[in-house]
Each structure stands twice: as structure tokens, then as C-alpha cells.
């Protein structure tokens, strides 16, 4: 089965976060339940990065901030170069970069 992007929902006030955090900044709650953020999100802002850090070779590296229907946000790589604010994306699992010579995997975002 395909991996789904998981966040947490504060059981106190219902706010959804990605990733997990210790305390809810809105209500101070410490109890969370794990939920899927969704299969679709909207692009809020983006950049094409040319000054890359060590461990990444894709030039330009397209990065964006996305928002899901439950108002949770995430940040990540976008698989295409042709992007516009407001476009719909879906999270997909894949290789992100190398850190200390090790491959790091996570969710990136692909235009729908």
C-alpha cells in the first residue's frame, strides 16, 4: 500500500499539525491523535533554489509551502518546475537528499 502523509490532531482543540509536536501552541494540550493530512493540498508559495546545500544535486530545487483541507501545512520539494501559487499537489514518498552520506526519504509534492 502507498504511504500516506500523517500528522497529529490536538484532542483538546482539534488543530492539526505536521509533524508531531510536544504541546499544542493554541491550547497547550499534550494529547494528540495521529491522522492522515489528506491526498491533496494547495501551493501557498514556492521558490526555485539555485544555491544548494550539501547533499542535494537537483538544480533548481523547487520547494513550496502547502496547505491541506484541514488547514495543516507542510513544506517540501515539488517534483516539477512549472508551478503556480494555488495549484493542487499530492504528497508522494521518495528520496529527498543525503545527510552525512545517508539517503533520507520523505514526502514531496507532485502537481495533480
Amino acid at each position: 500500500m502507498e504511504k500516506r502523509i500523517m500528522g497529529v490532531k490536538c484532542t483538546g482543540c482539534g488543530k492539526v499539525f505536521y509533524p508531531k509536536r510536544a504541546c499544542c501552541p493554541d491550547c497547550g494540550g499534550k494529547m494528540f491523535e495521529e491522522i492522515c493530512l489528506g491526498d491533496e493540498c494547495i501551493l501557498l508559495t514556492f521558490t526555485k533554489l539555485y544555491a544548494l546545500p550539501e547533499g542535494i544535486e537537483r538544480v533548481p530545487l523547487v520547494l513550496g509551502i502547502v496547505e491541506f483541507a484541514n488547514a495543516a501545512r507542510a513544506v517540501g520539494q515539488i517534483t516539477e518546475e512549472n508551478v503556480t501559487i494555488g495549484m493542487k499537489l499530492r504528497p508522494i514518498w521518495g528520496l529527498l537528499r543525503n545527510i552525512d552520506g545517508k539517503e533520507v526519504y520523505g514526502f514531496k509534492f507532485k502537481p495533480i
Binding site: L49, V75, G76
Partner: protein, 394 residues
């Protein structure tokens, strides 16, 4: 505060590529200048704070506060290093203020410094990006990438254009020409930056929509201040420069999680604290040093510190209000953009510049009659903010 705190000495090294000096040489040089400026003996110092972010990564050295204490012969003084990302300098000054205000220490030396130009830009970019939320870092999100995504939102929401960001660069480069300590001594025009007119200026894209001239350089350098109680400072100087207020606050570490990404909440809160403590208002300020690691940040900070209404900072800039001869000169030192950004030194260098301004010792870049000043030093992308209000006591 229990005791008012004053600056009685300050010193700086020239910022820039300093292949001639080790990190420790830079820290020693600025410390000795500040000690000489204050006209005290090394043995008078009873506490030392060293601001530095990267020594273990780039200079193979830890316990550097003790290493500096050893060089200066400060046996009885406390010695601590403050690592608080790019706000290390501001944090160290704030901790020194608390040390004096509490009465625990009488004469405190703060030295901030960094030596980073020898490392590859990919390595420096990566290490600096470790300040970001791990969810950002693992994706390859750097500080430039955050500033770029922030700038794109700012441009859409408030009508800021590429030319406004370039105006910050032109202004700060022009100011730096009057600062012998600045890293970049190069006059640039709006046409050169925006349209590559004039031939020699290259302005490649760093992170769309930001170009090279929207970003501060990587620099080596150090800066130092000596603090004591205002009461004691009067023995050294008839008009001591007082740190009238300070504040510090955090925003969401992940920029993506901020409700309105264009608002620098940490600065709003840190400056509110600083102005409250100083019993002053933004309108009282004559000169300000802001954390312009990116040109868009100077515009945003000029608003969230309280100087201009949100969304109008670029208008004030365009009208010349923030120029050296304007109503509120900003970054007369050249700022991070052109004075340079040796990380640990930056927050301390802001206090040094403002001390010179308030003493009337800033030479060609002196703001006439400056009596009250403001600075802010940002850790990460405004994730941690330290703000100061300074005043020439009468």
C-alpha cells in the same frame, strides 16, 4: 531591572575574508580594542560571554570562551559561550545585560565572532540550514529558500517589487562605503542590480525571486562590547550609552506553520518588550540597525519593529525615509548586506555601531544628533529575535 546597564567600551575587527587571522585572533583583536576603548584593565573584567555559532563545525574548536579568557588572562571571570544561531550576538549581549543588572557582575566583556569564508558555500549553506525546522531541513530548505518563499508572499500581499529589494541593497552598499569595518566596499546602482546595466555587476538568481544582491555575504570578523552599571559608567564617561530596554521572543520554528507567514511575530513581541522596558516608542528612535540577512527582511522588520505600518515599509524606503539623511536611517553601518555577517559577531556589531552613533563617533555615516537607537538580531528566519533600545543618557 535592578541596575541600569551601559556600554563603556566597544571594538570591532574589519569584516570580510580574513585569511590573515584565525577565529581566536579575531576574537582577541576586537576584545583588546574594546578593553582599550573602555580604558580598563583585563583584570577588571569579571564575566565574559562569547557569541559564536560554528566554531566546532568550521574551526575545530569548542570551549572557546575559556580559550579567549586564557588569552586575555581572565582567571577569576566567568566564561560562557552563547550559541543561539544567527542571534548568538544579541543573545550574548542580553545575557551580559542580565549579569550586570542583577548585580552578579560589574564589568562584562561580550565578544562575538565567526570565521567561515574558508569553507565551501555548499557546506556553509547546509550548516546554517540546520537552524531550520527538521521538517524543512530534510527537504533541502535553506535560509535563502525561506526568504524567497517569504518574499514571494510579501510581493503578492503588499505590492513590494524586485526594485524595492534592490533599493535596500543600493542603500546599504552606499552606507558601507562610509564604514571602514565593512566587508563590501562597492557602490552599486539600481540599474546595475536590476538590469545588469553597466557591465561588471553579476546578479545571478539564488532562490527565485531573490538574487545575489538580495542576500548578505558570508564573512569573517569579530565585535566586542564592555558593559557595566550606568552608575559605574559615569566614572568612565559623562554621557554613558545606556541599554534602556531589551526583549526576546520566539516564533514557530517552522516558517510554514506561521498563521500569516509575512508577519514577523517574534520581532513584534521582542520590540514590544524592549520599548516597554525603555519607556519609549518607535517614533522616538533616531537610528536603527536591523537584521537584513535578506533585503526583504529589512523591509518587513522596519514594519514589525513598529516604525512603519505593515505593508508600507517599501514606500518609506522609496521615499528615502530610511536613508542616511532620512527621518529614520536604517543600517547606516551597511547592515548584514554590506557590512557583512560573521554570524556570532553580528548582534554585537549592531550594538557597537549604535554606541558609536550615540556617542557621535560614527564619522562619515554619523546620523546628526542621534540620541535613541534600536537594533534587532534574528535567529534563524525570525524564529528567535533579540531586540534592544539604546539611549544617550543626559
Amino acid at each position: 531591572m535592578f541596575r541600569d546597564v551601559a556600554v563603556i567600551g566597544c571594538g570591532m575587527t574589519r569584516f570580510g575574508r580574513r585569511d590573515d587571522k584565525t577565529l581566536m585572533n579575531l576574537l582577541i583583536d576586537s576584545s583588546l580594542k574594546a578593553i582599550q576603548d573602555a580604558n580598563i584593565e583585563e583584570s577588571d573584567i569579571d564575566a565574559l560571554f562569547v557569541a559564536n555559532m560554528l566554531a566546532e563545525k568550521l574551526n575545530h574548536q569548542t570551549l572557546i570562551a575559556t580559550a579567549l579568557a586564557d588569552q586575555l588572562g581572565l582567571r577569576s571571570a566567568s566564561a560562557d559561550r552563547i550559541e543561539n544561531g544567527t542571534a548568538s550576538g544579541g543573545s550574548a549581549v542580553r545575557n551580559a545585560c542580565l549579569a550586570v543588572a542583577s548585580g552578579a557582575h560589574d564589568l562584562v566583556l561580550v565578544t562575538g565572532g565567526e570565521k567561515m569564508t574558508h569553507a565551501s558555500s555548499e557546506r556553509v549553506t547546509d550548516i546554517i540550514a540546520t537552524m531550520n525546522h527538521p521538517a524543512e531541513y530534510m527537504q533541502g530548505v535553506t535560509l535563502s529558500a525561506l526568504a524567497a518563499m517569504f518574499a514571494r508572499l510579501y510581493m503578492g500581499k503588499y505590492g513590494v517589487e524586485q526594485k524595492h529589494m534592490a533599493m535596500v541593497a543600493v542603500k546599504n552598499h552606499s552606507n558601507a562605503l562610509k564604514n571602514p569595518y565593512a566587508h563590501l566596499h562597492r557602490r552599486v546602482t539600481l540599474d546595475e542590480i536590476l538590469y545588469a546595466k553597466g557591465g561588471e555587476v553579476k546578479n545571478p538568481i539564488v532562490a527565485e525571486p531573490l538574487r545575489l544582491f538580495d542576500c548578505c555575504p558570508v564573512s569573517d570578523g569579530a565585535a566586542s562590547v564592555i558593559l557595566c552599571s550606568t552608575e559605574k559608567a559615569r566614572k568612565f564617561n559623562d554621557t554613558p550609552i545606556v541599554i534602556a530596554g531589551f526583549g526576546q521572543a520566539n516564533d514557530n520554528l517552522g516558517v510554514y506553520e506561521r498563521e500569516d507567514v509575512t508577519i514577523l511575530w517574534s520581532l513584534r513581541e521582542a520590540s514590544r518588550q524592549a520599548f516597554n522596558m525603555a519607556k519609549l516608542e518607535p517614533d522616538d528612535i533616531d537610528v536603527a540597525e536591523l537584521h537584513d540577512a535578506f533585503t526583504i527582511l529589512e523591509i518587513a522588520e522596519s514594519e514589525d519593529a513598529g516604525f512603519f505600518k505593515k505593508g508600507t515599509g517599501h514606500r518609506a524606503l522609496e521615499e528615502g525615509s530610511t536613508s542616511l539623511s532620512g527621518k529614520l536611517p536604517i543600517n547606516v553601518s551597511g547592515g548584514l548586506k554590506a557590512r557583512g555577517h560573521p554570524i556570532g559577531a553580528t548582534g554585537v556589531a549592531q550594538i557597537v555601531e549604535l554606541t558609536w552613533q550615540l556617542r557621535g563617533e560614527a564619522g562619515a555615516r554619523q546620523v546628526a544628533g542621534a540620541e535613541k537607537a534600536f537594533s534587532c538580531n534574528s535567529g534563524g528566519f525570525a524564529s528567535n529575535m533579540v531586540a534592544f533600545v539604546m539611549e544617550r543618557s543626559s
